[in-house]
């Protein structure tokens, strides 16, 4: 019998600018990621991202992978996706 992997979802709303970094980091730090989990960063409502936001995502990707789990980014808006493309982050992350 196989069980579905457990999914943890983090929702990010509004602009991920310098002011929002602390709140987003706290949401991420609250996650209890275990081996085999799928962590979904739901960015459907995220209207903007700055380079510090990208750095938080990168650190999260490394941490989640190290714990034997998988990070998936969901619902990037087109202008935000362009920032991922410009910086090569589109090649690093898994998208849904």
């Amino acid at each position: 019998m196989t069980t579905e992997p457990k999914t943890l979802t983090v929702y990010i709303d509004g602009p991920l600018n310098a002011q929002a970094l602390g709140e987003v980091q706290a949401k991420i730090d609250d996650l209890d990621v275990q081996i085999g989990n799928i962590v979904v960063l739901d960015c459907t409502e995220m209207t903007y991202i700055c380079s510090s936001g990208l750095r938080i995502f990168l650190a999260m990707h490394k941490d989640v992978t190290q714990r034997g789990a998988k990070l998936i980014i969901k619902g990037l808006q087109p202008l935000v996706k362009e920032v991922f493309d410009m910086t090569g982050f589109s090649q690093i992350f898994n998208f849904e």
Partner: protein, 135 residues
């Protein structure tokens, strides 16, 4: 056309930026993509100054001016902090894997990607960063 924004070197003052960009782009009739990109470019440039240009605890002003020169929209950012030329920061290698990627240099890289011309000068004890884009 000239539009100015003066802020103190405090992170919370950067919240003034989005209103400034919104108004500027409305005056010039520019679309959401440029609003987004100018917000990003200016936040990156000004965050660097706020975070690194001055010793902690000191209050200074940072001045941003936008002028339209023909088809080129020119942003000039001036501060009196430690001389620093962000254009000399090596480009990030966008082909590296997550493990190999380094943490720094992303902000200035985005500025250079988005703008058509980025120049630095040190004039009369001021860092002067010029960031221009054809619109």
């Amino acid at each position: 056309m000239e539009k100015k924004l003066t802020i103190e070197n405090k992170l919370e003052q950067l919240t003034l930026l989005s209103g400034y960009v919104e108004e500027l782009c409305e005056e010039l009739n520019l679309g959401p993509e440029l609003v987004f990109n100018f917000n990003l470019v200016l936040e990156e440039a000004m965050t660097n100054v706020v975070m690194y240009a001055y010793p902690e605890g000191e209050t200074h002003t940072i001045e941003l001016t936008a002028t339209l020169q023909g088809k080129e929209l020119v942003f000039v950012l001036k501060d009196t902090g430690t001389p620093f030329d962000p254009t000399q920061v090596p480009d990030v290698d966008t082909t590296l894997s997550a493990e190999e990627r380094e943490i720094g240099g992303l902000g200035i890289f985005l500025i250079k990607q988005i703008m058509d011309r980025v120049e630095y000068q040190y004039i009369d004890n001021h860092n002067v960063l010029t960031m221009a884009k054809n619109i």
